[in-house]
Symmetry: C2
Subunit: 118 residues, 2 copies
């Protein structure tokens, strides 16, 4: 599970998995296309790693009855405890700039490891 994948390779892998799920449900591309409300060509492109749009992905997941997968994919991150501390209860709406002075310290470039990390 290393980061040994280019972005393109990841897109290809996503396509393969969508295809396998479709086949496990014994759906044809045409049938899925109809369910998802897109053309068969779009399904073909997606499955073969030619990419597509976010909207298409969501439509296809719905067609496969796998929309719930998105919930596990992007669980609501919630607000980081650190953010709550820094802003004394306020939720951050923007990233902080390099506004510093004194020793409040440099902006942490390292992440805080708050949920779904790599």
């Amino acid at each position: 599970m290393k980061g040994a994948y280019t972005d393109d390779a990841v897109v290809v892998e996503i396509g393969h998995r969508l295809q396998r799920e479709r086949l496990n449900q014994n759906l044809s591309q045409a049938a899925l296309a109809k369910r998802a409300g897109v053309s068969r060509k779009t399904i073909t492109n997606l499955e073969n790693g030619a990419g597509g749009t976010l909207g298409t992905l969501v439509a296809v997941l719905r067609g496969l009855n796998k929309l719930a997968a998105l919930e596990s994919f992007l669980p609501d991150p919630g607000v980081s405890p650190m953010q709550l501390l820094k802003l004394e209860g306020k939720v951050r709406q923007r990233a902080s700039g390099k506004h510093k002075r004194g020793d409040r310290g440099v902006v942490e470039e390292t992440s805080e490891k708050w949920e779904w990390d790599d």
Copy 2:
């Protein structure tokens, strides 16, 4: 967890979650854009529910060090046990048509509930 979301609403929700994750890491749109190798405008659009491409999504997840999220999102479905049974060990490469005759029965239109369902 009902299907009370339109496809568009799902895209919007994805944008919000990506934004919150970015803010939890205290990254500016500009900084994330640089990491992901896309324009800041693309980040803005994505976060504001204007959609984007699959490639962009992957790039942004990588920029957030959240590529692993895709693994939980689209876990390798593997081959359905039913498929293995039907094809006597062979992996299905295409969906089955309405080739029937005799009583081998109509093609199951209902899914088999094999992994990551809704």
